[in-house]
Every structure is written in C-alpha cells, then in structure tokens.
Symmetry: C2
Subunit: 198 residues, 2 copies
C-alpha cells in the first residue's frame, strides 16, 4: 500500500475530501488514483503482455467479519489489515523479485515512517533466500523515481538515528527509473543493470 | 483460494450450514478450517522460521464498495473477487516458486472445475519466465497430498476432453508430499528432488 509521507494516509485523505462520513463509490482499494501505483501496475501489464517479466500486486489484506448471503456474498463488515509483506513480487529470468513502492511529497528526504518492521523483516528474508529486493521511491514534486536496493534501506532503518533518508543519499545510492510511455516506469532496465547482469 | 471439488464453494457451504442469511463471526476469509490451507500455511511458517524458504499466501482480493469512517475505517460493502493468479508464491534459493493448492473429496480423480483460465495463464507465464510452478493436490478422503508440476495440469487443461485428472495419472506424474509434525507438509523436499537438484 502506498501511503503519504506527510502522515496523511488513505483514510485521512478521504475524510478530508468529503462531508459525509460514509463513502460509497465504485472503487477498489488498490486503485485510488495514486499515480506511482498506477504507473507500476501499468508497467507490469506492459511487461507481462510483452513477455518481459511477471510481477503481480498483492491484494490489500482485509479481515472479513460478516458476510450477508441473502443477495449473493456481500461483505457487510470488514476492516483493512496492515500489509506485512510488500506490495509487489514476481519472477524475472527465473529469479524472485520483491519490492515496495512509496511516494513522498517531500523534496529533501524520504521518510521511513510508513515502512513497517514487518516489511523490513520480510525484505531481509527475501535477500537471505537470494531474491532481488528493492524499493521504488517517488519524489512526486520533483517528478523523479528511484530504485533503491532493500539492503540500503534495511541498513538505514536499523542503524541510523534519522527517521528519513536524505534525497542526496538516494541519488547517490539509488538508480533513477526512466519514465516513458510504454512502459511508464522502466524499472526492469534498472534491474538488468544492477541485478541481472548479462 | 481452496474450493471444493464437488462444486460446493465457500458460499454454498456456509449457506447450507446456517439458518440466518447473515453471518457474523470473527473469521478471516483465508482461514476457514480448511486443513490443506492450514497445513500449507503452518509449513510455510516453519520454513520461514527455520530459514529454509520464504513463501507467502496472497490475500483474497476483495473489491471494496463503501467504507464507514465514523468509527475508524470499517468496510460496510464489499465483495470477494476471483483470484486471477494463485494462492502462494515465494523464493527458494533465489528462484521464484508459485503454486495453487486444491483439495478434493473425490477418490478417483481431481476435477479441474475450480481452476480458472486466468490461473492457467498465470502459471504458463511463471513457467515462461523460468519460475517453478506446481499444484499441491489433496485427496482428502485418501489422506494423500501430491505435488504435480503445473505444465502437466496446463497440458491436461488445454488438450484433454476430460474435466478431471484421474488419480492414477496424478500418482504416475506427481510426487507424494510427506506429512509430518514439522513441517506438516514437506513439499520443499519434493521441490529439492525435482526442481532444485543439488
């Protein structure tokens, strides 16, 4: 799930934007006009259709409390659970890839507040088992997207006092992901460069 | 999602078992006392804790229609979507693994009715990109579990007239998965034997 680095999450954002406390709209939780997520999903579709790699988005985990079967199976009470893994995983040239995508409106640093310990543990496990693990980080106001290896973020998360990674460090240690028409975000080009050297 | 080979799905099963049409219980959709799924989840926990492999279950996709924010974020209207991929994927020795788990109460064949075309397409894609793809098939009444390579099932699905794979074919082409205490279902042993020869 992509959250907002300024502390606003989906819930707060939605609450502010409407008067009624009950939202009724035909949306799926995974598609809320968040451009980074959209860009990645569309890029993944492009990669899949062109036989380049297969990356899927994990559905948002939802805990279902009650279901009404009188009109089919309508869920009438449920709540969102925190994603304990990451948003995306898949396969490229036989190898396992796993990543989390985050967008920030900050321009000088990437806050770690929305990365959970569970996600850090998950990514450590991925690396331990030989998978490719990284973050895709968008600086929305700068119109820049970077791919940053998970090991760098894990190390920063665990060893540094700072609660955010400076932009300069991301430029230095990450790789900028080119934006285009198709794919919108060519992160596979970066994977080729740094992980799957041919 | 594990479905029932006799055509009963979760919904029908639940409908038959209760008088009221509205179900209210503290359950998660992924954990409904289905022993094969439980066995796999517990085995995956065992593998993860012991650093053997990392396999996670994809959450059931749910389409959220409305959310009530007056008491936190309570989903008040939503419905289950069909899983277009598979239940499980993960990483083992750097390689991508992906599988679907199905249980049947039949004793002479495994019905293909609950495998969707989307899942077949997904597994074909996994194989195309060099991933390890298979089915874990339980014959519940026989107390037997088999691992069957996805290519066999895909071929059967696409080329055979029959709507079910005979038990004898599964015995012949699959590999029995040993049951034990920890892990409950040692499917990694089979992966080692047939995919990751060392």
């Amino acid at each position: 799930m992509i959250k907002y680095s300024n502390g606003q999450n989906f819930k707060e954002k939605e609450q502010k934007s409407r008067k009624s406390s009950v939202k009724t709209a035909n949306f799926s939780y995974g598609n809320r006009g968040m451009s980074l997520e959209d860009d990645i999903n569309i890029s993944n579709d492009y990669y899949r259709r062109n036989g380049l790699c297969l990356v899927t988005k994990r559905p948002t985990p939802i805990n279902v409390v009650s279901v009404d079967y009188s009109k089919g199976a309508i869920i009438t009470n449920a709540y969102f659970e925190k994603q304990s893994t990451t948003d995306y995983n898949g396969v490229y040239k036989g190898r396992y890839i796993d990543f989390e995508a985050k967008s920030t409106i900050k321009t000088t640093s990437f806050p770690l507040a929305n990365i959970s310990k569970h996600q850090i543990e998950h990514l450590k496990n991925v690396l331990f088992h030989g998978g490719i693990a990284f973050f895709i980080i968008e600086f929305a106001k700068l119109n820049q997207v970077f791919l940053l290896d998970a090991s760098y973020v894990i190390n920063f998360f665990e060893k540094e006092q700072r609660k955010s990674i400076p932009y300069s460090k991301i430029v230095e240690n990450g790789f900028e992901v080119k934006k285009g028409y198709a794919p919108r975000l060519n992160y596979l080009e970066v994977i080729d460069k740094i992980y799957v050297k041919t």
